[in-house]
Symmetry: C2
Subunit: 410 residues, 2 copies
Amino acid sequence: MTDRSHFDGQYTTSWDKALAKRTERMKGSIIRELLKLTMQPDIISFGGGLPAPELFPVRDFREACDWILTHDAESVLQYGTTEGYPPLKDYLVEAMHKYDVPAERDNVLLVNGSQQALDLLGKVFIDEGDEIVTCRPTYLGAIQAWNVYGPKFVTVPLDDDGMRMDELEQVLTAHPKAKFIYVLPNFHNPAGTTLTLERRYRLVELAAKHGAFIIEDDPYGELRFEGEDLIPICALHKENAVYISTFSKTLAPGLRLGWIVAPKAVIAKFVQAKQGSDLNTSTLVQYMAHDICSRGLIKPHVKKIREVYRERRNVMLQAMEEHFPPGVTWTRPQGGLFLWVRMPEQIDAEELLKVAIEEKVAFVPGNVFYPEGTDGRSCMRLNFSFCQPDVIREGIRRLGQAIKREMGLA
Amino acid sequence: MTDRSHFDGQYTTSWDKALAKRTERMKGSIIRELLKLTMQPDIISFGGGLPAPELFPVRDFREACDWILTHDAESVLQYGTTEGYPPLKDYLVEAMHKYDVPAERDNVLLVNGSQQALDLLGKVFIDEGDEIVTCRPTYLGAIQAWNVYGPKFVTVPLDDDGMRMDELEQVLTAHPKAKFIYVLPNFHNPAGTTLTLERRYRLVELAAKHGAFIIEDDPYGELRFEGEDLIPICALHKENAVYISTFSKTLAPGLRLGWIVAPKAVIAKFVQAKQGSDLNTSTLVQYMAHDICSRGLIKPHVKKIREVYRERRNVMLQAMEEHFPPGVTWTRPQGGLFLWVRMPEQIDAEELLKVAIEEKVAFVPGNVFYPEGTDGRSCMRLNFSFCQPDVIREGIRRLGQAIKREMGLA
């Protein structure tokens, strides 16, 4: 094919002129680019947010696939409704009731992982210039999904008990038009913190007073290692909350399957937006997930994940005690996949990462989790779900060495 | 759960105020709503665009699933790169070469069906008020995907040879800032027409002269019943075309798997947009499709689909000859899933649909395929892929009866 190279010929000028203005606000995810760099097998990566692949319920998936393709192939492989596969919605309705979330079938929409939920939220609710409230730091995927729609991020700091409510009150007073408050109440990404029960009530009170609605992002809620489940915010603030979650951390992220719970009229708007976005979530994937869920296999599986991740968290916490120099502090998450490390101010985590990669270990520098991208420079996010205990110990040893080098202690 | 009803309580005011302005342009798909109405088993529906479910290669899927979950489960169920599964991209690159489309791996992006390609095109290229050129009629899903981004649709009529180039020239002269030209060159949805070779060359010439790029939507290209394949437009217009296609009509729509071919710098923009939209297309689905493709199973399967659909088209054409009254004309597609019926002007297809449903048969009224929604009122789209031959004969008999009633002939 001699002229193949022409395909990338003199396009630059014309394409560049054709781009929509919103593309100026699009950035590739630093994490995803970083992940590519750290794919080298000799690097220990605490950078991604990957579940432990050795725990995937492979046999359950194989059985599910065999069953649905034997008994229901013509539906499994056909187009489905945009709203989602009704029996899976019914399963989710029941599952949510146990967490006191009042929902019926038409309060639920199946989506391509909770990232699509974030995109649909932006599409349906964010006009350019709208103010929205998030923690600082907050989930990078939300920043990325919403930046396209051009909001102004108004941020509230968090401490070990999650978003600070005194600061939120000030922010809502100063920004009376803020449209919504985005929270990750359980095992926050990246901070690893959990919003206390008292603060949940206070959050709902403040949101109601200021007429803002709440987006509750809960990908890790099932992965609690200790303590009691806390009531979801959408159960406290029924009329004015959108709840989103995913099967990525309980079954497998390769499915790309998540869901939204919201008032029916809001779901109807999401359905319209999703029709234009991709018609429907893979029918095959929804049937597989439903088969596994309805056979009761997800609960024992999640129990196993919790045990394994709890051990890995413990190993990481212990190794940090042993290998990190004084002046470095970290959160102690009650669940989830991540913890957050604060280092002395003179340390720049992006610079540290270069040293860390020399030491064959990787993490995500903290500043990417700040919508402005300027704070959090001396912080980092560590993932403890992906690596096995021995690897975690060795990785933290290497990381401690890198920090000491960067601090001039080694 | 006594307070469940609260979940849809007094939300209306606050939510409605919170909606982004673009939601005013979102409409549910009439086709998808219609499909729900016509799900009743005694209605014969020519309304949807569904592949024949009895042809789905179920055994191939079962074998694929078993193989990939046995040999590669930890990758199959994990997150993947946004760009897509590299071996599947390589397969597509080779497959496209046979159609003279020059592409390398980095010219390809896997997406959730070609509907997501349309959404990403809108996200990356359409600013509010931008002029874009489409046929009238054109694919409803494109109208729906792009309306959200607020373009002005400038439309060009088509005849039995596809988009009219004399009219396109006038349109491009009158609208010199038109950003792109959207075409479905093979077995057009809804019109069933194919753009002739001569017009393909002319289209490329006009697009180049006026500095517009071309979006070539080709979901049905593989389903040619007769005649020779015509060169894809992106092979004639390498630097300035985006090609999109899908596995929905060759394997199964339940996968939600399609792809985009474009210059590398354009693909890079789509990748950024897709990261924020849903991170990546289901890894599981991509591995399944790749397994079936790489085993060489797709070609004989497509051959079978072509034979079955050719027969169904023939049966529908013959039945229309027999049952439709004089004054009704239709296209004779060389492939694909749809044909287009023009009725005398006094017939309003939406009114006819009510009579047709009484006669237990359904179709899609023509006006929904016009961005303005006003033309095409006496036209309708018929699908011939879904129903078996006997059902097609009976459905066309019923539809002929409905038309005659509406024309006062019965």
